[in-house]
């Protein structure tokens, strides 16, 4: 799969995103890493131009509840409804429900193994093949 790994907002911590990018590459995916401090609009633009099937958003600054929904909304506006959105970093439990409602399909916190993320992507590919909703613009509800 082609996957954009992005750092939205002013968060300057990219170690996690880079580790994930390498793990996804080693799992056979083509990973486009955006670099630091991207706006939601820029991330949407990158996903469109790269025709990515998924985007992983890394956030450790606490701005996830603002930035991640903006990316989701931007993707829907750009007719990228079938793009899979997943997130990682420091995202407290009580903030997760609203993100899942926005169409985020998985949130990975500290301690997640890279094989779990690869497993998630395999599951998404299988769901997609059998016509189950996976994308940010498709029916919300199911999440990892």
């Amino acid at each position: 799969m082609r996957i954009v790994v992005a750092k939205p907002g002013l968060d300057g911590h990219d170690r996690g995103a880079k580790v994930i990018a390498r793990a996804l590459r080693d799992g056979g995916h083509e990973v486009i890493y955006t670099g630091l401090r991207r706006t939601p609009d820029e991330i949407v633009r990158i996903v469109v131009d790269e025709d990515a099937g998924a985007v992983g958003l890394s956030s450790l600054s606490g701005a996830h509840s603002v930035l991640i929904p903006k990316v989701c909304e931007g993707l829907r506006k750009s007719q990228m409804d079938n793009v899979i959105v997943f997130a990682g970093g420091i995202i407290p439990e009580h903030d997760r429900k609203s993100l899942y409602e926005e169409g985020v399909r998985a949130i990975f916190g500290p301690g997640t193994t890279s094989s779990e993320i690869l497993e998630f992507l395999t599951t998404m590919e299988e769901r997609s093949e059998s016509g189950d909703p996976v994308g940010v613009g498709e029916e919300a509800g199911w999440h990892w």
Partner: protein
Amino acid sequence: MKQLDTLLDEARSGNRRSLSKLLTLVEEGHNSPLERGIGSSLGITGPPGVGKSTLIGKMIDVWVERGESVAVLAVDPSSPRSGGALLGDRMRMTNADSSDLVFVRSLATRNHPGGLMDCLTPMVDILSECGWTNILIETVGAGQSEIRVVAFANRILLVDGPDRGDIIQAEKAGIMELADLIVINKSDLPEAERAANAVRSALSVVEDESTPDVLMVSALSGMGVKELIDELVKTTTSHERERLRVRERLISAWDSALLTSPKLNDILQALEKGSVTLAEAVDSIRKDG
């Protein structure tokens, strides 16, 4: 294929999503709806870490300032083991994601047999047809397979730097013979002038009117980038270099045909056993046509 024509129509009228989807289909091997070779591209290559992506980022700024559009196809290698790839070129093109005048697509080499990236020409054609003025193909110029990639461009800019023995590496790889223009990046570093002179003297052995110019730029400060853009407008290729590029394309197509031949395994086994010679093996594949 109906879908491709529809996407092309939408892409022509400025729909980025359709353009992007169309490029994906062509990358996956679908035939382009356009006549082959209508577009023209500039290949940008050079050793790893020399500052190609950063320089392209600065070149983009100059073009955008002048109101010209830029599309970049940034090629990076796929892992031979996992088939995956880490494509990080666009993170160095910092202003590339906000202007409507810029389109950047990262491409993995996908381990095609013979290093053949046959999709590049139709991709350039599509971008050209959709109105993109400056079309760049960026690739690491580290070895033979990368030369094969950049040989699909119509003109080649070689980027080199002052901080290593890069020039010798470039000569070894044969990339200097293909370059229509050479820039030494990191001109802010003290050894840059010396590196530029080393390249000039390497070129001067067989100097004629088609010998490429050597410019100095700093992608860090932006110094010399406007001059580089102005120079590019004037830069033409030579018949000799055109021939070399066509030759590289032919060789990669030939290798690709060999490596995908249904007879390949039989021939390898016969060679192992010693029942055919190399010359006989080549003859046998050629007869197969």
